[in-house]
Subunit: 556 residues, 2 copies
């Protein structure tokens, strides 16, 4: 059996390695236009952050051997044609045309099965001067090396990053951590616009401010300008000019599908190669996997494009299985995406709120704030969780988690729960690992589910921080009832005009002081005491009282 794999980064080598184990006598060839094989691209921001001291470790095994042509040949009997580009697919004759880039020698390879693992290409935004020296993307292995070298030789003091997506944020964090001044220009009005709802995104933005990153929202970069030496010295945006030493374009990627398209393979609406559950393209002898292939989000059942090395590796195995005659399906995509930036752990799984609404769901959402482990445990940290559920059934549709605490653990829990169609009540009944180093007795994931289920059943009346901002903007007079302890109020007082201070311990005696002629928003630190208070106030006839979800900890 002859198998040609086009692409040697993640899905390709994984397909090859698995296939070798399943079909010992298969002739397996990987065609890779670059020089690196099985390169850990996701590690590039950490290399830039000087957290990964050796660039070579990004393409080495855990036991220190480089994953190069020799590695694949001697250990796995896999032939790698590096520096070689596939230029065409003859589906009828089952042949791939290739060209060796250096020698320009062309030839043809026969296949029984072809695997497209052609990856993605960085999107080029319509900005003048992108070819100026000092402008980088962060996509190919050499990008990190080149940027590193440029920053060093130019002794760069300021870097501009275009795009506040995952890569933009990781790179901004990496450079800011090296005390390089960073400006992030994002065309949308929030960071991580494809990932987070605005309420969670603004927590990240606030943290960037703390870390002295200059974040420019609604900022469209129009031109990159060079100085006397011919390299970047400023950018022109719709908000003015920014002097800068280097520019990193991180405006996302799109699937690399030129070969597939010319060969007449079907593409999905998102532009990636359409595949079935077995990862077969519209040609049964051609599979596609990794960043070039389209996916189905299991929650929305819509075509999505979420290029990730984790997905690519899973898909590589599935492709190998199906080539080997095993009947294996891929069904992994839940929309899970996570990142670490500015000492925040940030993640999403399932659908975002607007995404869920736009798909026609009857949505209810809620935010909680709290800790990842008990307050008495010295290493506890804060977390904020937003859950999105179907209002009528309580089925969980999505989750977003953000904080210095163990956020991704909760993202994973929600991802698994959503996959199996869990309701908020199911989540309330999860048996998660409890001991003080890991969780409060009621894990914050469970607390989040309980809180939203209360809201869904009409047992609590919360207002989200964003909704409160909207209410304030209407100029309707609001009474803020701050029920925190005096020392908490002193440490972080509310700056609103109309604040009534009644500590929770006095509320049952003093509730008659609360005005009845305007909306009452009860505020505490995390939204727990105030929820309790609103239950009491409602029973006393103050039926319009609401509590601020997540408390002032997340009201900016």
């Amino acid at each position: 059996m002859k198998v040609i794999i086009i692409g040697g980064m993640a899905a390709g080598p994984k397909t090859a390695a698995r296939l070798r184990r399943l079909v010992p006598d298969a002739e397996i060839t990987i065609v890779e236009q670059g020089e690196f094989i099985s390169f850990g691209s996701c590690g590039m921001p950490f290399y830039l952050a000087n957290l990964v001291p050796e660039f070579s470790s990004l393409y080495a095994t855990s036991y220190g051997v480089a994953r190069d042509i020799e590695f694949f040949r001697t250990r796995k009997d896999i032939r790698i044609l590096a520096g070689t580009r596939a230029t065409g697919i003859d589906r009828e004759r089952k042949r791939v045309s290739i060209i060796h880039l250096e020698s320009q020698i062309q030839s043809e390879l026969e296949y029984d099965y072809l695997v497209l693992a052609t990856g993605a290409v960085a999107i080029t935004p319509p900005i003048k001067g992108l070819e100026t020296p000092g402008v980088f993307t962060m996509h190919q292995p050499n990008d990190a090396l080149r940027l590193q070298e440029y920053l060093r030789t130019k002794n760069a003091q300021h870097v501009t990053i275009i795009g506040a997506g995952v890569i933009g944020m990781e790179v901004a964090d990496a450079l800011a951590g090296r005390r390089i001044k960073v400006t992030v220009c994002e065309a949308q009005n929030q960071v991580l616009p494809k990932l987070l709802d605005p309420d969670i995104a603004q927590l990240v933005a606030a943290q960037m401010k703390q870390y002295k990153v200059d974040l420019q929202l609604k900022c469209r970069v129009k031109a990159i300008n060079c100085g006397e030496d011919g390299s970047v010295n400023s950018i022109t945006t719709n908000q003015g000019e920014i002097i800068t030493d280097a520019v990193i374009v991180a405006t996302g990627v799109r699937p690399r599908v030129d070969l597939a398209q010319v060969a007449g393979l079907e593409l999905a609406s998102n532009g990636a190669i359409k595949v079935d559950a077995h990862l077969r393209t519209s040609d049964p002898h051609i599979f596609a996997a990794g960043d070039c292939a389209s996916q189905i989000n299991k929650v929305s059942e819509q075509e999505v494009y979420i290029p990730l090395a984790s997905t690519a590796n899973k898909q590589g195995r599935v492709v190998a299985d199906n080539i080997a005659g095993l009947d294996t399906e891929f069904s992994a995509v839940m929309g899970t995406t996570v990142l670490q930036a500015f000492d925040l752990n940030i993640g999403k799984t399932g659908l975002g709120e607007f995404e869920a609404v736009s798909l026609g769901n009857n949505v209810i959402s809620g935010i909680v704030s709290g800790h990842d482990s008990p307050h008495y445990y010295p290493l506890h940290s804060s977390l904020t969780i937003k859950l999105i559920a179907d209002r009528s059934t309580g089925r969980l549709l999505g989750a977003q988690v953000c904080g210095a605490g163990e956020a991704i653990k909760r993202v994973d829990v929600f991802s698994v729960a959503i996959k199996f169609g869990a309701s908020l009540k199911d989540i309330a009944n999860l048996d998660l690992g409890y001991a003080p180093p890991y969780s409060e007795a009621i894990d914050i994931a469970i607390h989040a589910a309980n809180t939203l289920e209360n809201k869904r059943c009409g047992l609590s009346r919360g207002i989200s921080p964003l909704a409160l901002d909207l209410l304030k903007n209407t100029q309707v007079p609001i009474c803020f009832l701050d029920i925190r302890e005096p020392d908490e109020v002193k440490a972080k007082p509310l700056s609103e005009k109309d604040v009534l201070l009644i500590p929770a311990g006095e509320l049952r005696e003093r509730y008659h002081e609360i005005p009845c002629d305007r909306p009452v928003v009860v505020v505490c630190g995390l939204g727990i005491r105030s929820y309790d208070a609103v239950c009491f106030l409602q029973s006393m006839g103050l039926e319009e009282a609401v509590y601020l979800e997540g408390g002032i900890s997340i009201w900016l």
Copy 2:
């Protein structure tokens, strides 16, 4: 509505607080024989470790207010009768007899609903001298305070802990971390015998050795002996005498059911109070929750007794809901138990291997070893995962995770997956959060599922470390084929007699050197290269070759 709750630690106060919100005019009384309310008992080992500087934080809110009688009265309108013991239940007249312990005044309380949250009592093993000064349990709030004081005044240099269960291990770690010499005496032949299978338990035991803890297995303590001052100065065991300054008895707890039993309520086979899914006892006006109540393990559908504050809190909410007329069920118990000790994160969910076998399952299990994040990421740590599945269906039955890395995240993932009946293939398709700070591109949880699925389908031939030890004990000659790189071999050579060294990169050329007349066990660092190698060797006709699961990293 009059509601009496007996017990003021976890389930009781949670029931009361939730019920107050649901039924504002309910008369809620908590009867608690001790002086502390809503006390974070699980924090006691961390107090002993000097990680929790203020004992009072264990019964304070996150905003620093003590959860005392006044707290519950003013903020929640809940009456607490502390220092008061319930002495009897008159189910016909719906009354509880109580006695105030200090004044010895007796009285009766009427109820519409009664909630038993009577908790657990420490098991007293049959050891002479348990009443000697210097002998402690670690169950009641005062236990930690008293022990702390004793260690200080006696300037204790050596402490003996009887029982290597969760509490025993946490306390051993806490004291060892203070440079007190610790001996742990465990009657079984492994640590954490109720929690872990022997193969995972021995990893923990090895770590204890590294941390200079004196672990005595199969050690039965017969007597505690006092010195001249009347307090402990040694213990007598079946293995000899141990000089020691203090003894902590951590031989587990049993449900406190005397009241329920005298009142004629049905008990489960495990001795705890039998409850239905709504947590009603055999008397529909009496609920039970927390450490006194029996549970059903959702995997085995057997009655189990796993007393945890997390379960108690969830159950408190469920009881309140049902008293308030909501129809809420409790279905949380998956057998999840986790702990941190000796810088290891240790956890289990679902069934253990022997448990699964004894319940009649056709079991297959496998062990993997690896990292929680990529080897190039500087903060990566090691993890070992054992999975237990149904051999015919691939349904996951249980998981055990142990290591310096983020083990509990994986325990939680498996807990959720098992709850929803996930198969190994389902786990291979989970969309877990991937970024270098959190996971390898193939998360080790997914790697563990893939590995066991390979074994289940006959695609790989592994031998577990324990099975290899058994094979070695048969004196059958074995050829160990060590395929690691020369520098790895040099750093940690195999001490076996018959070792053939062929680095993986030379195996395809040199495999004919492998003897055909005896079993071949292929060994590498983590069991990944050796799995690959065995696939190759099998294709070359060496069909009996096996690889060591988890590699030498976990073969002790």
